[in-house]
């Protein structure tokens, strides 16, 4: 097993928290900052990334024996671009308003480092089951990261979550008023920075506990 790399279950679990693409690997920062103004956009982006990563990992894993080292990145990009185009057209057909809201960020999944990184690190070296598990694990990790940032920004910025009103509009301004900055670009950096700091702190505490044992 050591020769083949981590097992499918290990890949799956690693992707969610220990190797979380956003909080641990700092990959996919463009969509993380750009589409986390509300939960609906963040979850649509996560779904698109799941679809593209899953399909790209499986195709890459299936043809891994045929890959030439100097042409592998070209094959990854070609594969990813195809599935991103499919995802983009599906959104335009079935979630038109959301497709308009996400704008160029769906086509920009082509250059999302998470996907090309997983093709390189896992799918081009391991079997289909492992590649699929890795894709699902990393996508769940990405979804959790986007959901955490989008929740903070949407709740603080507009007082809603998934469009549902959490803080009634008639609450006096002295008690609570929405922080408009949170739905603007600076809010994305503030939320990401604070949550990244929190994730690092939790990681340190867990490491400390392990060392003490």
């Amino acid at each position: 097993m050591a020769k083949d790399g981590p097992a499918p279950l290990e890949r799956f679990i690693n992707g969610i928290l220990p190797e979380n693409p956003v909080y641990r690997q700092l990959l996919g920062m463009c969509p993380t900052l750009a589409v986390t103004g509300n939960m609906k956009a963040a979850m649509t982006m996560s779904g698109a990334v799941l679809f593209v990563l899953f399909c790209a990992n499986i195709i890459t894993s299936l043809i891994r024996g045929l890959l030439k080292p100097h042409l592998r990145i070209l094959v990854f990009t070609l594969t990813i671009a195809t599935f991103v185009t499919i995802a983009d057209r599906l959104l335009q057909a079935f979630l038109y308003d959301m497709s308009k809201e996400l704008g160029p960020y769906v086509p920009l999944i082509i250059v999302n480092c998470i996907i090309i990184c997983r093709c390189e690190v896992c799918a081009s070296k391991q079997g289909v089951l492992t590649a699929a598990s890795d894709a699902v694990g990393q996508s769940i990790g990405f979804t959790l990261a986007l959901a955490s940032i989008a929740s903070v920004r949407e709740i603080l910025g507009t007082g809603t979550w998934f469009g549902l009103t959490l803080i009634p509009a008639d609450v006096p301004a002295k008690v609570w008023s929405t922080w408009s900055v949170m739905i603007l670009p600076p809010g994305a950096f503030i939320a990401l920075g604070l949550l990244l700091g929190a994730a690092n702190r939790i990681g340190e505490i867990r490491q400390g506990r392990r060392a003490a044992v």
Binding site: I63, L78, T85, R89, Y96, P104
Partner: protein, 207 residues
């Protein structure tokens, strides 16, 4: 033989053929639905684009954009819609136009008054310009700068911020950091309006 580029790239060529076939299938399956979505969006915007005067927005429900809209195509292939209100009064025109932007094609709707001489509104249907720079062409504050511009002469992009100067010069202020996108939109408007005016003048001659 192994050093031959074509031989080395056989996998890429094979994948490209397979992916092209898959994308063609997706396009065939979804093209009608996507076109319908865009058509619905266009009809939804017609009422807003032909409002007159523009600073007194008319609620969309008082217009029957979908039920009472005639559609025809200009010589250059621009779709033009003639909009009527509930009473059947002619309220203006909406032209669908597209052209190359900074990053990709930009698709817009242009609202004109009944004689086709003044721009009443502009709406960006589709664009993939640079986020936070070029994609500000879709913001209403910028799109409004086209309102009131004459179609008898080209609309130009300028750095002037004074409204009086822009009205006198038939210009719109460029978006800071996105001059190419701003000029692209102005060029698309000019080309479509010119084509439309030619069509209108042809019709008048025939009458």
């Amino acid at each position: 033989m192994k050093d031959n580029y074509i031989v080395q790239a056989w996998l890429i060529l094979a994948l490209a053929v397979c992916f092209a076939a898959a994308l063609s299938g997706i396009e065939i399956a979804l093209a009608d639905r996507i076109a319908e979505n865009k058509r619905n969006e266009t009809f939804g915007q017609i009422a807003n684009l032909v409002r007159s005067p523009w600073w007194e927005p008319v609620p969309a429900q008082t217009w029957q954009a979908d039920g009472k809209t005639e559609q025809w195509v200009t010589p250059e292939g621009h779709l033009a819609y003639k909009a009527f209100d509930k009473q059947g009064t002619d309220r203006g025109w909406v032209i669908k136009a597209s052209g190359q932007g900074f990053a990709d094609r930009i698709e817009i709707l242009i609202g004109l008054d009944v004689p086709g001489e003044t721009v009443l509104g502009l709406y960006v249907l589709d664009q993939k310009e640079t986020p936070a720079l070029g994609n500000r062409i879709k913001e209403e504050t910028w799109r409004r700068k086209f309102v009131g511009r004459e179609t008898s002469r080209d609309i130009v992009v300028s750095s002037a911020s004074k409204m009086a100067d822009n009205i006198a010069n038939n210009s719109v202020q460029a978006i800071t950091g996105a001059t190419v996108s701003s000029k692209s939109v102005a060029a698309i408007v000019n080309a479509a309006v010119k084509d439309f005016r030619n069509r209108i003048s042809d019709l008048k001659k025939k009458q």
